[in-house]
């Protein structure tokens, strides 16, 4: 039943890992019943959303305080403290707008899709509670256009809520063009304002002037689900899982060479090896893992004992990102897999900023030449130089992510790269690729 069944590039069926549900919060209902939660199920399990705290003037609403005490951070990839966004939007004049980012454009991630499929009302509760706390009257839920069954499911969930007269705010569902960068928060705002779903440089920032020039709060779907639980159970309960610095649980999509790929809910600070173990364990000896998705970092197998926190991963140049863990076996060719991902990222650039329009395709081409064993003598130094010039030079973080992937591949697969440079390839080069990558063709539409 998982919505991933409809995903166009999902050769493996992703279901949450079996058994061990000790950490489960967002997915607790799913573990208990194995059924997607209807509104009745949801209300029976969690009770109605605590919306009583509507009254009160400009003083900080209790929910904002609770989110601050809980230390919740964004689960969409950037890991920004949720309370800072809430405060920024609540502190501005004018009716605010809340945008639920459920685009999940990261090809290796399934977690938002899965969460919305099994516990849609938890996400919607969070959005409504955030809207009330920031004085917003509208919630826009943004889904990718090519997942029509998800759209149907969610409009049914919204209809249920409407009939139950649950929400004091308007909820609207939108289907956006599905490209890698259309999940960027400014892309959503630009599209909702009638423009293309391409990132917009700032300032003005979204929280200052977003949808219809109103202060706009954009949050990832999972973040809002956590917020809905914090509103019910309080910050102390939230902090029972995770580390003191980075509390709570998080959803992780584990795929690649593991026995039971799927979406897991784990406490932050869980070592990566434990994650792999909960996904059934590696099916063959691992070479490396890709953490954070296509815009993430390759980590050598030796580092898989690292706990999943920003603090522990930072020295390795990695971030948890949107919770993606891909296991790459020894029999796979790291440079080839990286080259395919880079080609996809280059094709999905919004073609707005020079460094991303020219630099990123150049890096991708160099990598493809390297993977294919067509490297010229200057290739490696050129690749290092061009990769180093990508970060921090775009309107969004797309080039930064691609550069992170390329640089970590050069580091982690240094031996393979060397063999590709001297011998034109490695034994694994001619085997079929292991990581599913969508076709590297530019998006058909941005509107």
């Amino acid at each position: 039943m998982s919505s991933s069944a409809t995903a166009p590039f999902a050769p493996h069926h992703l279901a949450p890992g079996p058994g061990d549900a000790a950490d489960a919060r967002l997915l607790a209902g799913w573990y208990a019943t194995g059924q997607p939660a209807t509104l009745a199920d949801h209300l029976g399990r969690h009770g109605p959303p605590p919306v009583t705290a509507v009254a009160g003037g400009r003083t900080s609403p209790p929910l904002v305080e609770a989110v601050e005490a809980a230390g919740l951070t964004g689960r969409g990839g950037a890991g920004f403290p949720t309370v800072r966004k809430l405060r920024a939007v609540a502190g501005r004049r004018g009716r605010a707008v809340v945008v639920v980012n459920a685009m999940e454009s990261e090809p290796a991630s399934r977690k938002d899709r899965f969460l919305l499929a099994v516990a849609p009302h938890l996400v919607l509760d969070g959005a409504v509670l955030a809207a009330i706390a920031t004085g917003a009257d509208t919630v826009h839920v943004c889904l990718p256009r090519d997942r029509s069954d998800q759209y149907r499911q969610l409009s049914a969930a919204l209809e249920e809520r409407r009939r139950a007269r649950l929400d004091p705010v308007r909820l609207r569902l939108h289907a956006l063009p599905h490209t890698y960068v259309s999940s960027e928060s400014t892309s959503l705002v630009r599209w909702l304002n009638g423009g293309p779903a391409r990132p917009q440089g700032s300032p003005p920032r979204t929280h200052e002037r977003g949808v219809a020039r109103r202060p706009t709060l954009v949050h990832n779907a999972e973040t809002l689900a956590h917020l809905a639980l914090i509103a019910r159970h309080g910050p102390d309960w939230f902090r029972q899982a995770g580390t003191p610095d980075e509390p709570g649980t998080t959803l992780v999509t584990v795929s690649g060479a593991v026995a039971a790929p799927g979406v897991l809910e784990v406490a932050l600070g869980t070592p990566l090896t434990t994650l792999l173990g909960r996904a059934g364990g590696p099916t063959e000896p691992l070479r490396a893992v890709l953490l954070g998705g296509f815009a993430g970092t390759w980590l050598p197998d030796a580092h898989t004992h690292t706990p999943l926190t920003r603090r522990d991963l930072a020295p390795l140049g990695a971030v948890p990102g949107a919770g993606v863990l891909v296991a790459l076996p020894h029999t796979a060719c790291g440079p080839t897999e990286t080259a395919r991902m880079l080609a996809y990222l280059a094709a999905h650039s919004a073609r707005q900023c020079g460094p991303c329009r020219l630099g990123l395709p150049a890096v991708a081409e160099d990598f493809t030449a390297l993977a294919a064993g067509r490297a010229d003598p200057d290739l490696l130094s050129r690749l290092h130089c061009r990769t180093g010039l990508l970060p921090d030079r775009g309107a969004c973080r797309h080039p930064d992510g691609a550069a992170r992937l390329a640089a970590s591949a050069l580091r982690v697969f240094a031996d393979d790269v060397d063999r590709h440079l001297t011998h034109g390839g490695c034994p694994a080069t001619h085997r079929p690729p292991r990581i599913p990558v969508p076709p590297a063709t530019p998006p058909e539409t941005w509107r």
Partner: protein, 70 residues
């Protein structure tokens, strides 16, 4: 009162014409396609006039010297 200025480039508007690097080579380099690379975002006092000229010279108005520190 702080008078520090911070360089910012509107990357979507910038078309890589390169006038900024001619006028402010101390802080701005160009990549192989002619797009600016900021060596340092903070404008030191002795370069403030040059920075202002570079901002005024940009034919796309993509270079900004914002008030305050980065």
């Amino acid at each position: 009162m702080t008078r520090t200025r911070t360089l910012r480039i509107d990357r979507i508007t910038c078309t890589g014409r390169g006038l900024c690097a001619e006028l402010l080579p101390e802080l701005i380099d160009l990549d192989e396609w002619g797009y600016p690379v900021l060596k340092d975002r903070a404008v030191p006092d002795h370069l403030r006039t040059h920075a202002r000229r570079a901002v005024a010279a940009c034919p796309r108005l993509a270079l900004h010297a914002d008030r305050g520190r980065p």
